[in-house]
Symmetry: C3
Subunit: 141 residues, 3 copies
């Protein structure tokens, strides 16, 4: 049993939903050593989030952005937390609806996801900049 | 410390929320060997999800289905991803709101859930068919 | 590799979102022994939940309470599960939107969260009382 842990920096991306599977796994080749295990990733921010969803169609990602903006709109009169602009408070709410971390099984050196599943970075700020993840990998070699 | 990992097939179920605790644990008797550990389950699909909720009242499950259909309606004009029908894009959004995986503590050979907690399969498609999970169990024997 | 597992009781809190990071980690000093690992916490209830969000501004917490009450209102005509009052069914729905458990990396004896991240108890009932968590800590010492 072995443990690997490292911080990963993601490229800055525009507001919206983005498939980042390759960018993540290219930075943690230690996955290849694990026969049965788990990859855990946490995003160290409260205005961006991680989820698993459809990894091919760009319109799934753009429809998700449109619908999250409807479920959690900007400029609602009752928001008091507006110091960083109208995208500030909605970003915090979306981050909790979607979640800050993912746990994904590793089988025989690969992520064991469904064929159509990918890791999404959900960028909720207009100018979120580069985002930091902590990746923890553990399992049987 | 030992690791067990296997794929589980769930029976096809109609659209809605379903308690599947027994169907899951009956397929992974290895839980009984673990004194302190974790059960991780991932659903390998992007149009169905897993959550933990009330395990007795059927009206909790039907009210959840009604309310998720209101939060994430079909046939919104801005959806572009409609190739598989009106239940397609809402299914992807619901899957990310609810989540693709669960981690549950194991204590003395049993899931350590609250008395009223059960594992739900959230089937978001009208004809989702059988669903596949990856179960990973790890801990101290 | 070592495993620690214990139940934690949280103080009763009023309905809303509350930062509980210190209350949690003070009850599990075993975190200090772990060099690389994971803290898993599960809330053993279906009407309260756990999330990670902004740990300083009280208005983030109060805006979250206001917006979750809008996304999941009380007294919708189609709710059938009303036996425990108007806050009953919305509490179940919010619990599944936010989630029942968290997994947080441990690095060199500390939770490895972002500077502005804290653990929230999301209390969805008007009189939820004390809440029970199961904490599981595992990793390399």
């Amino acid at each position: 049993m072995n443990w690997y842990q490292k911080e990963i920096n993601l490229e800055a991306r525009r507001r919206g939903f983005h498939v980042i599977t390759s960018e993540v796994i290219n930075q943690i080749p230690e996955i290849k050593k694990i026969k049965k295990g788990i990859l855990h990733i946490l995003i160290k921010h409260t205005s961006a989030s991680l989820t698993i969803n459809e990894n091919v169609s760009p319109d799934v990602r753009s429809d998700m952005e449109k619908h999250f903006n409807k479920m959690v709109p900007e400029n609602i009169a009752y928001y008091e937390h507006n110091s960083e602009g109208p995208d500030d408070m909605p970003a915090h709410i979306k981050a909790s609806v979607l979640g800050s971390s993912l746990t994904i099984p590793i089988s025989n050196g690969d992520l064991n996801l469904g064929t159509w599943q990918g890791i999404y970075l959900c960028e909720h700020r207009n100018n979120g900049g580069s985002r930091k993840l902590v990746a923890t990998i553990y399992g049987e070699e």
